[in-house]
Symmetry: C2
Subunit: 672 residues, 2 copies
């Protein structure tokens, strides 16, 4: 029996327990969490009749320590019980729910209502004496606790006191605490045991930056009309600025040799010139395949130095794992069985008939599964040996899901810190399956969710419905995606999208050039013109900064706010608030003091004008309980972007000028 | 390994298959169906990349015959595949989903788009030849099928024909049929196996009537001021009228001896007089307990004769299983451990503190589970030996769910035809749990769903979300429930509620007196005044019929429509249509010809004015596909209540006068 076994054909226990969460496909796959995440645990627990019920979460940590967490009853009639737990340890947790008849609560309720009307007073005292005496004798009960209960039993028997006074003896803080600490349980019922995998914090929380190392420091010589590629040494000069902006992961497109056959030229044209560097995703040449570094970028030792330089600045390197080959890839000769051979004996290139992509040979995973599976395993291990612990996987949805499940399990078994990010933009079933198969993170539909309604419904889905298996990384741009919203929204649009990505999700990312609001598209396409995928694209960062075109300082501010506010490093805690305007989105994130790494509660409220072309004003109506506040109070809010402080209440007027500051990011302060 | 085992920790197969349905709690309990039910089977099936996919349902009947049903792809992007199957056999079905790479469809799609633009023509012919030749050689393929495929392979090689002409050879009806019958499957993947329990038709389909046998033929002697109870012989005289109205189940409140201690008088008063018969639910007296018949009703042989008389009229008898005792019940002396003894040594009566119900001792299932479980088993078997096959279970939600699961499994194992109806009016989690535990049917919230919005959302829930485990029996009244809607809605309300109950659900029921529109409530209560629960209540049916107060003919018509229209004997096929009025509800039920017992498709459209106090008019906008019709046609509809025929189209004006006919029940006829 595996630890996450389901009770097939298992009848109801004495007290029904159903719908444990977080659970993925009834326990077929473990639910996910990350170190530092506050995870809500829930179950449907109920019983026959009217007597009281209690429920507890029994949570066993990877190191084998069991903790018990009392569940609270949810909305009346829902029979939902829940609590939340801060996950502190990495590894495999086990959890189950324990339900019990709450004998104290049943007796206390009945006694209270009966004594209030003078019914059965002696009988209820007698019942209480029996209850406390029996409970005090339980073998598992602590001596101190038993002593408290016996004292109550004695008091209940004291006929000199009125029944009301005697009942009050069972209601002291000392008694309530004793009962809370060690409930009087009867009809104890255990649920099945479920699994929760806790991964390292970076699997859930990170600010990602993407650049092409060949562009950083690339030089065009006007006289000779020739390019000199950037390399790891020149690219390393950009690292301090990336760190300064607050990013802690740097993802680079494939760093391997690039094929020559059918190489693509600028703007994806078919005939590349001799100065065209080719797409990094056309992997493999005479210089080698997936386990080699493009000679233009430098040597293995240059790459190691680059990793060290990044790590010293608090940045991790994420490599691209793109399982496809150029026709020049060594595999084509050594292992043609890893591709598809067509009826005419040629190797099949990528197609979306009748379109042809002759520069790419897709891998066939079914001809020689053992061979290709192990080759990919070897490659991933190879780069892990360089210190790489993050892989952004290109188009995982065009490879068998079963392959990813095998690979990730294998790697994570030996290297539990390795994180895989799925670059899948496809239908929901596949996106979700990749998460279940083990991907720690995924790209999302966020780039195409721009209106208030779209954002609200999608962010709810990400934070609640799919959070147990699908961890979003909200990218505002990629080299493949430049949405119309950004093409035509100017700097306001860039600030809006970055602010939402950075605050709504604990992981977000941007592709170099976003901070310069680069937004000219290839006509008719949702992609940058003169795409860096096919060309060197050095940027003059210093000049851009001086020109005022840059929003790097805004980006820096966002990442600073993220670093300072633990509420923003949670995925499942987002709550939406009503506003009267169709373009003003309001949401908050809250973390309780007991779960916060600072030891203090933290609440952030974000109010965004998602219309980058207008000034909008509206009322924002807050559900104060969601901010950890009592009903009907006034309190300070500080806009962390402008540092302005306001006094707010449950309903507030806001005016957001897209051309000034389209977003409020408020820290909730003192009640005044 | 049990047959419905879930693959815990089971990785993805080569082709992912998820979310099988109908499945209850991931297979912990089998899904339910009844003989004659059309059951939708679905799964989420998808694959990497762009190649085509096929999916099949492998269904194994209780007698061990496996049938294969090809699934159809659902909405684009949903990756949902489904089909529906008419369940013809009673017992335990097993089902699993088989997914496969559809090699023919992939080749055919690619060839079609390439040949249209003159690309790779020879190559695609070659690929086709390989495909068909290899498939023809499959060991499991029939010879006739192989012959068809080889002929295609030969044709594709015929260079005298154009590629287009050769492709056409693979598109003939003969070839398509051959491929459909025996697909060319690759990468075959099987899902886990799930269970579906098919129960007899009456577990899902029935028209129920409830009466108190003591009332039928009860006589009050004015001179002596004494009552003579009705009995099985006098009650049998009412059976022909019940059958005439079209009911096929007669449910009677408990027929056992009634306790004398703390007997309730008229209107639930505390002091019964000598002429008060007491509540049938206060079971047990010196004359015996749950296995005895009230002496006033007759002997065991009278009861057997009554059952025979009912059966001869096509009516089954449903007994009440009410597990509680009067203080006079024999158990109180023989088995006091089956009750709760209080601290003062007395037996606990029913309470909802501070309210007391001293005429009832609730059963305690935890003191001596083996004893009381087996005693109930004995009682149920006892009545089964009389020919009783239906039990209406009183308040099952006040007994342990685990007990019911044990009892029903035990009984159904030896008597698979026995049906249990749960009279649970409580929170959703418990209502649903009782269904999962094995109850074949349940009372519902229907009585309190009166507005269009309430009905539409609740009926959707019943037909779709919970249909795999919770079978609704829509009662319009019970001796416990007389809603304000009926109290103040007059005959219109009674017709409306009966028409909805009878057409929206395959099981419905009413309590005697409904056909007379008895609707005077005890002031402030949601219950009849002078409740039959505490009094004899003979009714003068003949006089009522003459007076014009009766809607018995309307009820008769409803049951005739149900009997004539197979679409109405399905639960899961309800579909709602838009109307512009907030009180006009429109829904339809459709059954395909291939699933219909008549061999003909059947479509019923119900349009109801749920406002019993007004004339309403509106437009009804029909989704014609849901009625089995093409878009944009005119067609005949016949109102089965009035026999009037109209010509309808996608949008239609209706006027429904609550005081004349508040409901149209249309049979959809010919397209004109």
């Amino acid at each position: 029996m595996t630890a996450n076994s389901q009770p097939q054909g298992q009848p109801f226990g004495r007290l029904p327990i159903l719908n444990l969460s977080p659970v993925v496909e009834a326990g077929r796959w473990p639910a996910k969490a990350y170190v530092g995440e506050v995870v809500p645990f829930q179950a449907t627990v109920f019983r026959e009749g009217h007597d009281a019920l209690g429920a507890e979460l029994l949570l066993t940590s990877p190191s084998g320590v069991q903790t018990i967490h009392r569940l609270k009853a949810g909305a009346p009639g829902s029979d939902q019980w829940g609590t939340s737990v801060l996950i502190k340890e990495q590894g495999r947790f086990l959890f189950q729910i324990r339900a019990f008849a709450d004998e104290f609560e049943t007796w206390h309720h009945n006694s209270t209502v009966k004594i209030a009307v003078g019914v059965d007073e002696d009988l209820m005292m007698l019942e209480g004496i029996n209850l406390f005496t029996k409970a005090a004798a339980e073998e598992t009960r602590s001596k101190a606790n038993s002593k408290v209960l016996l004292a109550v039993a004695k008091g209940l028997a004291d006929s000199k006191l009125s029944p009301k006074a005697r009942l009050a003896l069972a209601e002291t803080a000392e008694v309530i605490d004793a009962i809370e600490a060690e409930p009087i349980r009867n009809l104890i019922t255990l649920s099945e045991t479920m699994q929760l995998i806790s991964e390292r914090e970076r699997s859930g929380v990170g600010a990602w930056y993407e650049f092409f190392p060949r562009s950083e420091g690339a030089v065009f010589d006007q006289s000779s009309k020739t390019w000199t590629s950037g390399n790891f040494k020149t690219a390393a000069l950009r690292l301090p600025a990336v760190a300064e902006m607050g990013f802690n992961v740097l993802y680079m497109p494939p760093i391997h040799p690039i094929g020559v056959a059918f190489r693509k030229g600028p703007n994806n044209t078919l005939n590349a010139g001799p100065q065209d560097p080719g797409s990094p995703w056309a992997i493999g040449s005479a210089a080698g395949g997936h386990d080699k570094i493009h000679p233009d970028l430098g040597t293995e030792s240059d790459f190691k130095a680059f990793i060290r330089a990044a790590n010293d600045l608090g940045i991790e390197i994420a490599l691209d794992l793109a399982l496809q080959a150029s026709p020049d890839h060594p595999w084509v000769k050594t292992n043609p069985e890893w591709f598809t051979t067509r009826a005419d004996g040629t190797i099949a290139y990528a197609e979306n008939p009748p379109k042809k992509y002759q520069d790419i040979y897709p891998v066939n995973f079914d001809n020689d599964p053992e061979g290709i599976y192990n080759e990919v395993l070897r490659i991933v291990r190879h780069w892990i040996s360089f210190g790489v612990k993050i892989f952004r996987v290109d188009n995982p949805h065009t490879k068998p899901v079963a392959f990813w499940e095998w690979l990730i399990a294998k790697i994570n078994h030996e290297s539990p810190d390795v994180v895989f990010l799925a670059e899948a933009f496809t239908r929901p079933a596949m996106m979700h399956a990749l998460g279940k198969a083990g991907f720690q993170q995924s790209y999302t539909y966020f780039t195409w969710r721009n209106t208030k309604w779209e954002l609200e419904s999608y962010l709810k889905e990400l934070a609640h419905e799919s959070a147990a298996f699908f961890r979003p990384n909200l990218w505002v741009t990629t080299p493949d995606i430049l949405t119309e919203y950004l093409q035509f929204g100017g700097p306001a649009a860039h600030k809006i999208r970055a602010a939402i990505a950075a605050t709504a999700s604990p992981s977000w990312g941007m592709y170099a050039g976003y901070e310069l609001c680069e937004s000219v598209a290839r006509p008719g396409a949702e992609e940058h013109i003169d795409s860096e995928k096919y060309e060197y694209r050095p940027r003059d960062w210093a000049a851009a900064e001086k020109s005022g075109r840059s929003i790097a300082k805004y980006i820096t501010k966002l990442n600073q706010i993220r670093a300072a506010h633990p509420a923003l490093r949670q995925l499942r805690n987002i709550e939406f608030h009503h506003t009267d305007d169709s373009a003003i989105l309001a949401y908050s994130k809250f973390i309780e003091a007991k779960h916060s790494p600072t030891g203090k509660a933290d609440a952030i409220l974000v109010v965004v004008n998602v219309d980058p072309h207008a000034v909008r004003e509206t009322s924002v109506h807050l559900d104060l309980a969601k901010l950890g506040l009592p009903y009907d109070v006034n309190f300070e809010v500080t806009d962390l972007v402008t540092n302005q402080t306001y006094i707010w209440s449950a309903s507030n007027f806001v005016k957001l000028d897209a051309f000034a500051e389209p977003v409020h990011i408020f820290s909730i302060g003192q009640v005044v």
